[in-house]
Amino acid sequence: MPELGFAELLASDPGPFSTAARAWKQLAEDLDNAAEDVIRSTRDLAEVWPEGDAAEAAEQRTATVRNEVCNAYLPARRIGEALQAHADAMYDLCGQAGDLYDEAMRSGFVIDWRTGVISVSAAAAGYRSPDSLERQVNEVAASMTELVGRARALDARTTNALVVNLPDATVGFGALARVPVSREEILAQQGKDPKAVNDWWNDLDPQQQEAALQQYPDLVGWLNGVPAEDRDAANRLRLQRDGDNLQHQADDLNRQLADLNAHPPVNHNSPEFYAWNAQRTALQDRLDDVHTEQQHLAKTKEALDKLGTNGYLLGLDPTGDGKAIISVGNPDTAKYTSVMVPGLGTTLDDAPGAINRQLNLYRSVDSQASGGQTATMWWLGYDAPEFDASVALSERSEQGGAALDPFVDGLRVTHDTGTQDRLVVIGHSYGSTVVAEADLHGNGLAADDVIVAGSPGLHTDNAANLHIDPHHLWVGAAPDDPVAYPGYYGDTVAVASAPLLGPLGWVLDEAYKHDHGPEPQDPAFGANQFHVNTHGHSDYWNANSGSIDNQAKIIVGDYSHVKLDHKAPTP
């Protein structure tokens, strides 16, 4: 085959490379799906057919098939990627070569395609000095040489990628399994840029990914950069296993308590009784914790059951108050995506009601969208503050913001087209401070728009200090929301609520005597204020809410039809 020259570059057609790339990528996707089918359908073979020569032979054969299918996936994908990269680069080089050729012709140069010699037409030579002509010819020649050099290097890279990844003539892609991923290897991915995590995950073959899901669902389920379907599979596995484990723990603790209660010390003033009682209390406390976690899992399952196949569990941790990320719709294929961060007092027990609100928002967005899929998420990926001093501190919002920011980055990375058309982050109440913390630091939230409702403040004095463009910051505040307008009830409520709040009454009193800082709905803060027709602090997402309609319009980018109380000022 003759070496590639300028004429070949100019005449080349990258189209067939693109076509071949698509075919190889499709083959890789089909292999990935086939590998998952093979893995899941043969996983329990040893369990249901444990003994005998035939069982052993069957197990060996299925392992070989699993390995062969899995080993074919990555090479097929890499060939597809190499061909696509080749096609893209060739389009670029061909374009540059064409521009160079046109420019040379306009300058009166004639290029001999066979020899590469550049000559100058008589007309062009007539009005330019020999030095100027020589310099121009040399520049054209250097550009041609550079383009041809880049094309040859590209050709070599692509050839190498094809050769390395094509199957061996005798052993195909091989029947040996790749080394499974270790827990340490997954732990090392935590905190990394989601793009790097995504690259790492994609370099695992389906069997390695499946093994990672199966063995370490608690880690894979929270890993930003892992695709939504894989996170969902990991977290659902954790949901099931944690449920089984907790039931075993509950059964064991109940047995221990029953044993203990069967033999109480007779003398209630004896050291034996105190020790017995302390042990019983400790067991009961542990049992209460187990029941709390069981309740969290039950509520998560209840929420997921409402969504059927359209539900995605993108994070789960039943310990403490519980954490979870639940999506209505697949964010990796959605055109319109929203992430909603709840506020004060939210626990995993709130999942069923919260998911109904997300489902309502999903349907509202879907009814406003002319095409494309939708995903709306409930993001309880942080420990929301309780009714104690934690609500007064920034610690929870800082922790939440640090978790929210890479999660949103991960959504961008794992989207199947490279990025969503629209991604909007919503914060309610204290959740708005989490959103603010995520946006104030680093390079800000990777969101197209930010919506806050019932916000106590955004940890800054002016919208301009946030990374989000103030014209894409939307604030909702019901006029009688005491969080958005802390002065709404004035001293009357401070005094009236004192019996309910007990020793915290002084805080109310003090708070109302001081400047609470800028309310984000204040025009001077510099954000948009969208119109809200609900009442109080907790009704922004109810059935009759115009707030939902406005949020849906923001999510689909229908800005001109958002009902506003005031717009962000024009700079």
Binding site: Q368, G371, A392, Y430, A494, L500, L508, A543, N544
Partner: protein, 166 residues
């Protein structure tokens, strides 16, 4: 604002929200009692009526559907108070959406519905919101962005459920 002042403001406001949530629980004892099924059925009836008003060629361009939603997301809010919202996308190939909304406005006015909002500032994409004073069902019809279709929202007021829901 100093950290201390912010802290005080936040704790005061959020705790106050809890206080008012407690107040609203008392107020909501007057809610009408309905099951989710009954409320959903009401929304579906309104959808059918609206499709009939639009005309025989009207159809849903997407599945749409109803959702029951808690009336409040305050912590410890009652778990037996809900509303139902239905969201649909309607197309009617025989008529421009703005003309359909103009006809709906007239038809709903004739039924005695209260007109909450009728925006025509964007003449190609009017937005209409009405409420039936008899049952407080709210309906919004508006032309969506980038397609000749109507987004239809039907929302109920809050009801009291005979059984806990959430």
């Amino acid at each position: 604002m100093t950290t201390l002042h912010r802290a005080r403001a936040v704790i005061a406001a959020l705790l106050l929200a809890t206080a008012t949530a407690a107040c609203s629980q008392q107020k909501d004892t007057t809610l009408e009692t309905r099951t989710v099924g009954e409320a959903t059925s009401t929304v579906n009836d309104y959808l059918t009526q609206t499709l009939t008003l639009i005309g025989p060629d009207a159809r849903q361009s997407k599945p749409g559907g109803t959702t029951d939603i808690p009336c409040s997301d305050a912590p410890n809010a009652p778990n037996d108070q809900f509303g139902v919202a239905g969201h649909y996308q309607i197309e009617n190939p025989t008529e421009a959406p703005k003309a359909t909304i103009a006809r709906l406005q007239q038809a709903w006015q004739n039924k005695g519905y209260t007109q909450n909002d009728y925006r025509t500032s964007d003449p190609e994409r009017p937005e209409l919101t009405v409420t039936n004073p008899a049952d407080h069902i709210k309906i919004t019809a508006e032309v969506i962005k980038d397609a000749p279709r109507i987004a239809l929202t039907i929302g109920t007021p809050c009801y009291h459920s005979p059984t806990p829901l959430y």
